[in-house]
């Protein structure tokens, strides 16, 4: 069986017809991981026993001719910031080494209930802080499309695992671009659902007003299928919304004709790689051909998104990460003789440089005398950034823009300069701050064969329209540089 072209529809059909068993499909993926992940480093832990138990259960259902759930036998991987009962959950950090949470994240439980086979836990930047996956305490992930380049971050392992055909789909998380940016760098689809659309129970928190869980997949339809399963109100997450979940998969067959596409001028300025510009223009031309109405729009506060994000996200992180103190889980420094020394020594030994940098920045921004100048100011600018989007969505149905200013950069290229690293997220953080939904879809590649992604952003809770436009881009005529799935 060719894993390269294995979409969910193909896998489901093969399992239902008996062409392949769920057990054999899981083994095929584990075999691919064993053969190739040595050079990618996407998996931090395999949950083989749990996967094979689930696969056997699906095979039993097939044998009995029972109707199969939507993800029956589909091999998936989980970013290591989400809990899976009994499996390690490091969040890419030494401070959680050895921790095996006693419960499943809601999204994990939902995937398994829908028939998915959970292969294991995926590498990421420490506590999801990073844009290159070079901040993992367990080594960087390499981009399967170019091994000397980063896969993006923080969900680098989740994007790479799909690109390398280690899993049919994966879950990642996005706080400032951590799903869309690695999806663009690795040439896969990555969906940022609206804030509140997907439960975060069992997600190790980084910045609670921004963190979201979403899928990676080989195409838009597969991503929509996973989103369909994980979306919805969860009593365990008070920020999850009870807005009805639409039929995302069914909605994909509706035409895009007549939809109004906004092109935000601020996303096409200085610093945008010309090859990416050309690919995005191609995607927009395809949408025009498909009958969409393309309009220029302005999101005037865009350039303030990165500084706003780095105040808010670090302030929230400094609070959230205070729970890692060597008392209830994970690492404890054994050197210390007193409680306060134990806190400090544990945190010093357990956190990496970027995490410490962000905790310090966030603590500084919240400290007496600076709160109004930094935190309150950033919260006000967040309102302006969100109003930009709400105003634009009065005129258009979705926005189309680049995901990243450049294609995947080389390992080590930006590690010495945090500001340059942060600017890798310049086109993704505004949507994060505003809480709207977004998706990165492959739309071309550079002369050197590096993937290029286009971002489609939708109104709050209008994933259906966003995914429909994303699929029109995916199947549009401009993008011929890559094998169709």
């Amino acid at each position: 069986m060719e894993l390269e072209s294995l979409t969910m529809d193909a896998a489901r059909a093969a399992i239902a017809s008996g062409e392949v068993t769920a057990t054999a499909l899981a083994e095929l993926h584990y075999g691919r991981i064993a053969a190739d992940d040595g050079k990618i480093n996407s998996f931090l832990a395999l949950s083989r026993e749990r996967a094979m138990t689930q696969a056997a259960k699906i095979d039993g259902m097939v044998a009995k001719g029972e109707s199969l759930p939507p993800l029956a036998g589909i091999p998936v991987g989980i970013k290591d910031v989400l809990t899976m009962k009994g499996s390690p959950a490091t969040a890419g950090s030494l401070i959680l080494k050895g921790y095996r949470p006693p419960y499943d994240a809601t999204v994990v439980a939902k995937l398994e209930a829908a028939g998915a086979v959970l292969l294991g836990k995926l590498n990421c930047d420490e506590f999801a802080m990073g844009s290159s996956n070079e901040n993992s305490a367990y080594g960087p992930v390499r981009n399967p499309r170019a091994l000397d380049r980063v896969p993006g971050g923080s969900s680098g392992g989740s994007a790479a695992a799909v690109a390398a055909n280690f899993a049919v789909a994966t879950l990642g998380t996005d706080t400032g671009g951590s799903i869309r940016q690695p999806a663009a760098f690795c040439g896969v689809v990555g969906v940022l659902p609206t804030y509140g659309r997907v439960s975060r129970y069992g997600l190790i928190a980084f910045a609670s007003s921004l963190d979201r869980v979403g899928p990676f997949a080989k195409n838009v339809k597969d991503a929509a299928t996973v989103l369909q399963v994980i979306a919805g109100k969860d009593v365990m997450d008070a920020t999850s919304s009870d807005q009805p979940v639409e039929d995302y998969v069914g909605g994909l067959s509706r035409p895009v004709e007549g939809l109004r596409i906004g092109v935000p001028e601020e996303y096409f300025g200085e610093g945008l790689d010309p090859e990416i510009r050309t690919a995005i223009d191609g995607a927009i031309a395809d949408l025009k051909t498909a009958g969409c109405v393309v309009k220029p729009v302005s999101l005037p506060h865009t350039k303030y998104a990165i500084p706003t994000y780095y105040v808010i996200a670090t302030a929230e992180a400094s609070s959230n990460l205070s729970r890692f103190d060597g008392v209830r889980f994970g690492l404890r420094s054994e050197e210390a003789k007193t409680l306060s020394a134990m806190f400090k020594k544990t945190r010093d030994a357990g956190f990496g440089a970027e995490v410490k940098r962000r905790i310090l920045l966030g603590t500084y921004a919240l400290s007496a005398g600076y709160y109004d100048a930094y935190y309150r100011k950033a919260q006000q600018v967040r309102t302006l950034l969100t109003r930009d989007f709400l105003t634009a969505f009065d005129e258009v149905d979705v926005l189309v823009a680049p995901v990243t200013p450049t294609p995947a950069f080389k390992l080590g290229e930006k590690t010495d300069d945090p500001v340059q690293m942060y600017l890798a997220d310049i086109y993704s953080v505004a949507a994060s701050l505003a809480g709207i939904c977004g998706v990165s879809v492959p739309c071309g590649e550079t002369k050197d064969g590096l993937p290029i992604g286009v971002q489609v952003m939708g109104r709050h809770f209008d994933e259906a329209t966003m995914l429909r436009v994303a699929q029109a881009v995916e199947t549009g005529p401009s993008f011929c540089g890559r094998k169709r799935l």
């Binding site: 921790y99 095996r100 006693p102 804030y195 509140g196 007003s209 009593v235 008070a238 920020t239 999850s240 919304s241 009870d242 807005q243 303030y304 500084p307 706003t308 780095y310 105040v311 205070s322 103190d325 008392v327 209830r328 889980f329 690492l331 210390a336 003789k337 007193t338 409680l339 306060s340 806190f343 400090k344 020594k345 945190r347 010093d348 956190f351 440089a353 410490k356 310090l360 920045l361 603590t363 500084y364 400290s367 309150r376 100011k377 950033a378 919260q379 006000q380 600018v381 967040r382 309102t383 302006l384 109003r387 709400l390 300069d417 945090p418 500001v419 942060y422 505003a434 709050h460 809770f461």
Partner: protein, 108 residues
């Protein structure tokens, strides 16, 4: 890039203390340099006049009824099963099965 008052080494140490972080002698100057670079970038926000703009803690506020009234309803205050105590305590570095154990709290 707008002006901002540079963070001194003393402030780096004070903030580290507040955050329960112990920085090594090598880490301190690097953190000072990085914080100043990042805060220099953040100072751009001062170009904006935000007088009268309400601060936004999360998106529910700006959407008004959409999330606030419906999405953030608290669940019923009813007794429900929670995580198994033994399983939770087993995750801790040191415990007597009922309580988490820590080094001496009173230092003087």
């Amino acid at each position: 890039m707008s002006e901002h008052a540079a963070v001194t080494m003393e402030e780096v140490r004070r903030v580290a203390e507040l955050a329960n972080l112990e920085l090594t002698a090598e880490e301190e100057p690097r953190m000072q340099r990085d914080l100043n670079a990042i805060l220099g970038h953040i100072a751009q926000l001062n170009e904006l006049d935000t007088a009268g703009v309400p601060p936004m803690a999360q998106v529910g506020e700006i959407l008004g009824g959409l999330v606030e009234d419906r999405g953030e309803a608290l669940r019923q205050d009813a007794v429900r099963p929670s995580l198994d105590r033994a399983a939770v305590m087993a995750c801790a570095p040191e415990t007597d099965g009922r309580f988490f154990k820590v080094p001496k709290v009173i230092e003087r």
